[in-house]
């Protein structure tokens, strides 16, 4: 017997030149929804989108429908269509409408190819679809350049809405570093410019932050400029995506692109004398967690990936308390050191969780050396600021 089934149907027709009409249905065990829209062929843009729920997940799913209008004007041939749909339709309307819309757009793009091929074939009867498509792909626009760290204009600085807080009192030995932050444009998923992150870190009394943009190596010169500009310690790290999940890497200069095998990355980190932390190792799902499907600490401890890392991130600002607690239990079971980091993607996230070291750290080399001692602890920094508490060092 099937445990789950999903069916999607997309149909496209043309009743007048220049426009195609798209109808999509998604029906599975949980949802049943429909989308209708038109595409203007000359601009490849969506017009008149409408949605309909037939069966919903929650009593409030119908709130999604007005937000679908935001997809009007989307270019279905754009390289960034999936990201646009995710950002606008998935987050503001509904992820399932977003899934269906993407399916419909991909189908509509192919349908327009079929329509145009049919016209072209009238002119050239021996034209095959394969030849037509190969020709069409050759004239597609060149992709935009990849944005690199510090290489593009920063977002306009946003004034901080919260009043200046008095930095937290702390033991003179404690040194608090947010080991996991993302800045825009180096990390396209972040909304915070690097200057904003640093200003906020200073404002809340952190001792330093570490930039761990996705598969980006900040240049020493760029970071030195930031340190001088803000009079605040900024360290260099990197969040690298491996076939076994994301890893925070420190003390390695190689610019890893694409998806790397974890074992290969471990060799590179070891050869550079660096340090590797499994980031958010149990980041889970929205509606259920892994323990609900039978995951236990003992089973999780057997993950081969944990034999390759030096530490586990057990306080991550983007996962649930249960997921962080679970990671902590696994780290304890494995006897691995543990760290904390905000995983900041917005200014207000900085310092939610940090790592507390027992000595002052002044540069990247000292950070790696301090990590290698294992003498550090994860810490709920913002929570303590809000309470105005002093941490016993």
């Amino acid at each position: 017997m099937l445990k789950f089934q999903r069916n999607k149907l997309v149909t496209v027709y043309q009743d007048k030149p220049g426009v195609v009409h798209v109808h999509g249905v998604l029906a599975d065990d949980i949802f049943d929804l429909e989308i209708d829209f038109a595409v203007q062929i000359d601009e490849m843009s969506i017009v008149s989108i409408q949605g309909k729920w037939n069966r919903e997940e929650t009593p409030e799913c119908s709130r999604a429908l007005p937000f679908l209008e935001a997809a009007n004007g989307f270019n279905i041939a754009s390289d960034t269509l999936a990201q646009q749909i995710n950002k606008v339709v998935s987050r503001k309307a509904c992820p399932h409408f977003a899934n269906l819309l993407l399916e419909c757009c991909l189908a509509a793009k192919e349908a327009i190819g079929v329509v145009q091929f049919t016209v072209a074939q009238k002119e050239q009867q021996d034209l095959t679809f394969a030849d037509y498509r190969a020709n069409a792909e050759a004239v597609e626009k060149i992709k935009p350049p990849i944005v690199t760290a510090g290489g593009s204009p920063q977002k306009e600085h946003v004034a901080l809405s919260e009043p200046q807080r008095k930095p937290m009192r702390k033991s003179s030995r404690d040194f608090y570093i947010d080991l996991h932050t993302h800045s825009f444009p180096a990390s396209q998923c972040s909304s915070a410019g690097v200057d904003e992150l640093i200003v906020e870190a200073k404002r809340i009394g952190l001792d330093a932050i570490c930039l761990t943009d996705h598969n980006i190596v900040w240049s020493p010169a760029d970071v030195a400029d930031l340190i001088q500009k803000h009079g605040f310690p900024v360290f260099r790290g990197n969040e690298i995506t491996t076939d076994q999940g994301d890893m925070l890497v420190f003390g390695m200069q190689e610019d890893v692109k694409g998806i790397i095998n974890l074992g290969d990355l471990k060799k590179m980190v070891d050869s550079a004398g660096g340090f590797m932390i499994a980031a958010h190792p149990f980041r889970g799902f929205l509606v259920f967690n892994t323990s609900q499907i039978g995951m236990t600490v003992e089973k999780a401890m057997q993950r081969p990936a944990f034999q390759q890392v030096h530490a586990l991130e057990v306080l991550n600002g983007k996962v649930t308390k249960q997921e962080n607690r679970f990671a902590e239990k696994v780290a304890t079971g494995l006897g691995l050191p543990t760290t904390g980091g905000s995983d900041a993607h917005a200014v207000g996230d900085v310092g939610k969780y940090v790592t507390c070291f027992q000595r002052k750290i002044e540069n990247d080399q000292e950070l790696v050396a301090a990590l290698q001692t294992g003498d550090f602890t994860p810490f709920r920094y913002r929570q303590h600021i809000m309470r105005g508490e002093q941490r016993v060092g």
Binding site: L2, R6, P59, R133, G258, K318
Partner: protein, 163 residues
């Protein structure tokens, strides 16, 4: 007036539980230009892809797609947050075909939805009780907050929840 379709697409994805720790997820696509199927075996609770197989039965292009070589790449990948980036990255090492990663993602997505369905079957009937159920869900997993219109500020499902 007769309006004949110029294009149509059917995509069906299903999950079968074959034993107490193995799922098979199958996604088949049939449209005007393409017919293809991908099947993955997934071990749970790790949600690890144990094996993958597939076939392009019909394509409009002239290039052959190294389906099996590409699918070998995703063995050992864990289904969960961040999987899309990993799958696309690994598949792109073998082929630039756009449909193949989509078929795999749909298989993986269906695995997640199968467990989501189990969790949602606990939701009580009736608007008031159901609202309370989902509100508790948001409190336990704040990632849901503002993740879609139903869980956005102003919705009764997040009423009174502070982040």
């Amino acid at each position: 007036m007769t309006t004949i379709l110029c294009y149509s697409r059917n995509r069906a994805t299903s999950i079968e539980q074959v034993d107490d720790q193995t799922l098979i997820s199958t996604c088949s696509l049939q449209d005007t230009l393409t017919e293809a199927v991908v099947r993955i075996r997934v071990q749970f609770p790790e949600l690890l892809i144990l094996s993958a197989e597939g076939k392009f039965i019909r394509t409009a292009g002239s290039d052959s797609i190294p389906m099996q070589a590409a699918l070998e790449k995703i063995k050992g990948v864990r289904i969960g947050a961040g999987m899309k980036k990993i799958i696309r990255g690994l598949i792109s090492e073998v082929t630039d075909n756009a449909e193949l990663p989509y078929l795999i993602e749909e298989c993986c997505h269906a695995v997640i939805l199968a467990f989501t369905k189990d969790a949602l079957m606990l939701a009580p009937k009736g608007k008031a009780k159901s609202t309370a159920f989902f509100k508790k869900m948001v409190k336990e997993n704040i990632r849901l907050y503002n993740g879609c219109a139903a869980f956005a500020p102003g919705s009764p499902l997040v009423d009174g929840i502070e982040i």
